[in-house]
Symmetry: C2
Amino acid sequence: MVFWKKLFSNSEAVTNPEITNFEGELLKVETEHNPQARILFSTERDIDLYELETLCDRVSWARRPLRKVKKAIQHSFLVVSMWEVKGKRKRLIGFARATSDHAFNATIWDVVIDPDFQNQGMGKAMMKYTIKKLRSADISNITLFADPQVVDFYRRLGFIVDPEGIKGMFWYPD
Amino acid sequence: MVFWKKLFSNSEAVTNPEITNFEGELLKVETEHNPQARILFSTERDIDLYELETLCDRVSWARRPLRKVKKAIQHSFLVVSMWEVKGKRKRLIGFARATSDHAFNATIWDVVIDPDFQNQGMGKAMMKYTIKKLRSADISNITLFADPQVVDFYRRLGFIVDPEGIKGMFWYPD
């Protein structure tokens, strides 16, 4: 059983002295198996690219040049990471980012949750955090391109497939 | 009959002294009705917002706050405009912009062609120019969300609907 003691009611800086140089918002999670687990969200961009690559490896994504991943993170409007914190140690367990025109539209890319933390509401919590951040930046049109196996996941979060017949389209070179 | 004398073979700065302070790439267009017409593409962001609003009015788009339109243009990765040039006068006849992470993905928004210039290959030319610009920036994943009535237009340009079952999704507030 997962009990969300506090979820997004307001931002809470992490003040625990054990965690230095890490700004984030705290999501307290108590589980029967790990009553000490704490989950943090952050929008800091200074993510260890190798740690991110390890996370992406765990969900079998094709590897991408870290140089380009770094550039993509720099030029994303929003970068969200999710961390499991135990004492002084933190572990990257989720990631998402969004491109945007800073005014009307945002598009969410690269949503990944560590398999150990899937099916526990963590992905949902991370996406709600992401939506909240985009909404607080006055972005009204939040979009994404969903693989078939996650369409229902996003539907439960309020995303709509092809609203008013609008179709997602991709261009590939001939 | 429209004859494309030169289309994207290489970039050609506009050197005609009649057109000052205007950088663009020339697309020579000869039509039976207007042999003097010249069509220019530009990626300059310094677009008169009222002129853009007039263009959008002509296709009956809902008006948007110019303050936000300005911000969106500033924060777009690519802004493409298409102009009809006659002597010293130029008229905005097409517009498109793209958000991007500068590395992997781009999403094209706000594609508009003046009704006087529709069904003459102008929209196709502007989109090919847009794709060429994105490709030259090493963007491999070019995406968009197409209204039902323009899905076939984009299909003819090589865009694919829902490749491998990937669905475009939109989030709206509850």
